[in-house]
């Protein structure tokens, strides 16, 4: 039985990992950049940032997925399934990462930036070389939470017909008329999240150099 269901479940896990990896690779750097813009932007741009973050955090990700794939064509923008998934996940997770970074940057001693200024560094250098590295280190536990959430949030893409792990499990449950595939699905999620938490804790140790 396990041998029969495993190929489709592993294919589903592959889709899950793909969405996970691409979203993470896009959203974390994007959040670092946008946070810089937010910090240096004037009064006109700030409400735009706040609006974006409110929108992303204030509506369900499932709804955002549906809106981008089914709703945007009405506004003249048609995206493929894959693109819609990536856009929705990246926009959503970037918003959360920006908020995490904002908090972590606030916890960095203002003396650090002042010292940088005294030494004649540009605002960009101060942000990327002095403030951001320290903020990222402080933010690791919170980022880790989001990373594990992301693994599990990928199960929402079923709504666009994508066969991720949970959907593959449901399909197998239907085909073989037993709930066993769900147990395997659970174990696969656990293994993925276990692996990622291990990697995260290694990174955390590596960067806590003082």
């Amino acid at each position: 039985m396990i041998r029969q269901i495993l190929p489709s479940l592993l294919a589903g896990a592959g889709v899950t990992l793909q969405v996970f990896a691409l979203t993470l690779l896009l959203s974390l750097p994007l959040a670092c950049l946008l946070q810089a813009f937010q910090q240096f932007s004037g009064r006109l741009l700030k409400p735009l940032f706040r609006g974006y973050i409110t929108l992303m955090r204030g509506t369900p990700l499932l709804l955002q997925l549906m809106f981008i794939f089914f709703g945007m064509p009405y506004l003249g923008l048609t995206f493929s399934r894959e693109a819609s998934i990536l856009i929705a996940f990246t926009l959503n997770y970037t918003a959360y990462f920006i908020e995490i970074l904002r908090g972590a940057l606030g916890a960095v001693d203002p003396g650090q930036a002042e010292a940088g200024k005294m030494l004649g560094f540009s605002r960009r250098t101060i942000y990327f070389r002095i403030q951001l590295p320290q903020a990222l280190r402080n933010a690791m536990p919170a980022i880790g939470n989001e990373v594990l959430n992301l693994v599990k949030d990928t199960s929402l893409i079923y709504v666009l017909g994508a066969s991720e792990l949970l959907k593959a499990g449901r399909s197998a449950v239907n085909t073989y008329a037993t709930a066993l595939p769900f147990v395997v699905v659970g174990l696969l999620y656990l293994a993925m999240c276990g692996g990622f938490s291990w990697i995260l804790s290694r990174i955390e140790k590596r960067i806590s150099y003082y």
Partner: protein, 265 residues
Amino acid sequence: MKSRKVWMSLISLGLLMMSGCQAKTTAQQDSYSTLQARGKVVVGIDDTFAPMGFRDENNELTGYDIDMAQAVSEKLGLTFEFQTIDWSMKETELNAGNIDLIWNGYSITETRKQQVAFSEPYLENRQLIITLADSAIMTKDDLAGQSVAVQKESSALEAVMAEAELAAKLKNGAPEEFDTNIDCFMDLEAGRSQAIVVDEVLARYVMKQRGLDKYKVLDDNFGTEQYAVGMRKSDATLLSKINEAMQACVEDGTQAALNAKWFGE
């Protein structure tokens, strides 16, 4: 003050864009020539509906409807590409043009007729009432006060709700709704639901897998319905072509062979 003005104008611009674009989808055209030029027709299916459409141990799509669609595609000379969709989004996917056909044990109902065009029916299906083998429920009337499970947004649900008087007498005044039909079966076995209403085609398949002696099928049912292929109302040419091809499948014995392969009839 200034920023409030900016926001108001942005919001009104957004609303304007949305209202302006609503009109676009209603003016759809017959897409047959476009499909021919593209060389393929996208068929929307739900791969969680054994035995009509599901995945085998190699993760390949298989099932009665997949075989049937392939036979029709050969007769039409068009390639069919299968796109898995979420079943609750099927009409949205169709009318947005993401898929061209809904072909997956799609029952003809009055509500759906308002949104999609149906081909000629190709399979009959009853809405069976199933209980555990030792249940005291014998007739439809015995369902009063009992908890009855159905798949959400399914024709089983519509069939139960159509008998409003009976539906109101169920426990909680309505059937319990689950994501998939298998969830209904599991709820029945867990003893939370006393009966389930499901498509006969799927129910026979599931009962064979889980053990026929565990269940009892009542003589009463919630009516007969027909499976057909759904497409956009604007696609009149595609509709007639599909009907012709399906008729040919009946005449040359293709469909009889499929019935024997999947249902052993």
